[in-house]
């Protein structure tokens, strides 16, 4: 074996790569091809035939405009809210917690260890009509006597924000952690105010983390259906709910497949535009 590798040194990486890359090719790349193939079929379950039915795409967009727009609005608001919550938290852990840093990091990751569905159901409990939160809000008049928190946009967006918070905190923390403290001291020595040295040094150096965090939050948020299903009502349905029910309940595979591609295409376009605006090439170098 050793001598085989010696004679064919150029082959070694391919031998190492083969099993894993083959797995990804067959079960990730090929399925995307099948999804495309399925999205251009027409007919009714269980007999679909492939006939370049591009009409599936125009219908996918026109029939689901409302859910499409709602998904990206919800995802956008949730991403912004997650950023507003995460940045101070990540900053505090990186700069103020000293040697307890690792313990606080564990607390940030902790929600990951309660199954996604269970944490969302916990929000159902917290926001439920008989729960203390609704009671309190009714007493102080923020919620009407017959009002509720479940089945509202607020509940769904808050749920999405909550569920992806660690994805936002961690990358921001990592980039803040890498900021050279001596630069901040130097700025202070040169009479820069703390605000100014934050704006000129810390903030720009943490932007790669902000970039990664917003993508890690926005992408899964826009395809999410769990929060809308468990915390929302019929008026909070997102595009994920439509894809899910078309695939698994209505067995309208071509429409569901076309819609999946529409979702992915919109995400790609938005990510590309975002990367251009913030100058991702500069950030990831």
């Amino acid at each position: 074996m050793g001598s085989f590798f010696h004679r064919h040194r150029g082959l070694t990486p391919w031998v190492l790569l083969l099993p894993g890359i083959a797995w990804l090719a067959v079960f990730f790349v090929v399925p995307l091809g099948y999804l495309g193939y399925q999205s251009l079929q027409s007919g009714t379950f269980p007999r679909y035939q492939f006939d370049w039915a591009f009409v599936n795409y125009t219908e996918a967009i026109s029939d689901n405009q409302e859910q499409l727009i709602r998904s990206f609005v919800y995802a956008g608001i949730a991403t912004a809210a997650a950023l507003a919550i995460s940045y101070p938290l990540a900053y505090w852990i990186a700069f103020r917690t000293g040697r307890w840093k690792n313990v606080f990091l564990v607390l940030v990751i902790a929600p990951f260890f309660v199954t996604y569905l269970i944490r969302t159901i916990a929000w159902q409990t917290i926001l439920s009509d008989e729960g203390p939160v609704v009671d309190l809000l009714k007493t102080i008049g923020l919620v009407a006597e017959d009002g509720r928190l479940l089945a509202t946009t607020l509940a769904v967006v808050a749920g999405i924000t909550y569920n992806f918070l660690p994805f936002m905190v961690l990358p921001i923390y990592v980039s803040l952690e890498q900021v050279d403290r001596r630069l901040i001291e130097a700025a202070g020595d040169l009479y820069a105010s703390p605000v100014r040295s934050f704006l000129r040094i810390t903030l720009p150096m943490s932007l790669p983390g902000v970039f990664a965090g917003t993508l890690l939050t926005f992408i899964p948020a826009s395809g999410d259906f769990i929060n809308a299903e468990l915390l929302g009502g019929p008026n909070q349905q997102m595009i994920g709910n439509v894809i899910q029910s078309k695939f698994l309940a209505l067995v309208d595979y071509p429409a569901a497949a076309a819609l999946s591609f529409v979702l992915m295409a919109i995400i790609l376009v938005m990510v590309a535009a975002y990367a251009r605006v913030v100058g991702a090439e500069k950030l990831t170098r």
Partner: protein
């Protein structure tokens, strides 16, 4: 003046602690309601304290089966993904070849695509063939697929900092490539490989969306929870959720404390 100064000084800390409380609140609720004795089917309102749910954690029909399926899947799929992912990471870091940039991109894609698209596309593959019936093994295939990338990223991060002089020293002392790999490379990489495997295990146990699309009639723990959600989740779900949480956080806290101690000691 001094009041304003106090606020200014501690504002960041207050905001950070509030954010942490927001993150931990649902966990507290999950744990708390694992001790509840619900009046009806819905475990939403606090009634009275009981240990029954913990003592009879498998009393809810189907829950033990679902948990066992999840754990078996997580063990098998994380082992497979760790093996495949570690090999890819070795190839990507150790060798220079033309397709490397493209392969890095290919590894990155499954982590960045929305889960629903991954689940849906894999389902269309399985629907259009007759080799695999939807069930345990199609979930296994899916879990290995999305976990490979996470293992590659974890192991690669460690490999980049790897001191290759150690391997050269082994070679100078007459070890061949295989012995060097077994005696030097592998032990030094072991923590990263273990971290990759644990990450894969955790993601596998937690995955719902991709699993749900490709599970057929096989029920994993998250699929079970989803099925119960409409009818009222039994408190045993809280028990298992809390138990998984305590085990995982216990392991991580122990690691964090060890690391903190090590950093405190002068080198």
């Amino acid at each position: 003046m001094s009041g304003w100064r106090f606020v200014k000084r501690h504002l960041l800390g207050v905001v950070a602690v509030l954010a942490l409380l927001y993150m931990l609140l649902p966990i507290a609720v999950v744990v708390l309601f694992s001790f509840n004795n619900p009046a009806g089917r819905f475990n939403y309102v606090w009634q009275s304290f009981t240990l029954d749910n913990w003592l009879n954690w498998n009393a809810a029909p189907g829950i033990q089966n679902a948990l066992e399926t999840s754990l078996l899947l997580a063990v098998l799929s994380s082992l497979a993904a760790t093996a495949l992912g570690t090999l890819i990471a070795l190839a990507l870091v150790r060798y220079d070849f033309r397709a490397r940039g493209f392969l890095n991109f290919l590894i990155f894609l499954p982590m960045s695509a929305p889960e629903i698209v991954l689940g849906a596309s894999l389902l269309t593959l399985f629907l259009n063939q007759s080799v695999f019936q939807l069930g345990f093994w199609t979930i296994f295939i899916a879990h290995v697929m999305f976990n490979i990338s996470f293992v590659v990223v974890t192991v690669r991060a460690r490999l980049v900092d790897f001191d290759r002089h150690l391997e050269e020293a082994a070679a100078d002392l007459g070890a061949n490539e295989l012995v060097t790999f077994r005696k030097v490379t592998l032990p030094l990489l072991a923590p990263a490989i273990l971290a990759g495997a644990m990450l894969a295990f955790a993601i596998s146990v937690d995955d719902f969306v991709i699993t749900y699309f490709n599970s057929g009639s096989t029920i994993t723990f998250p699929v079970y929870v989803w099925g119960q959600a409409a009818r009222g989740v039994p408190p045993q779900v809280n028990v298992i959720g809390s138990a998984i949480f305590f085990v995982a956080v216990g392991i991580m806290l122990a690691q964090a404390v060890v690391q903190t101690r090590r950093e405190r000691r002068p080198a």
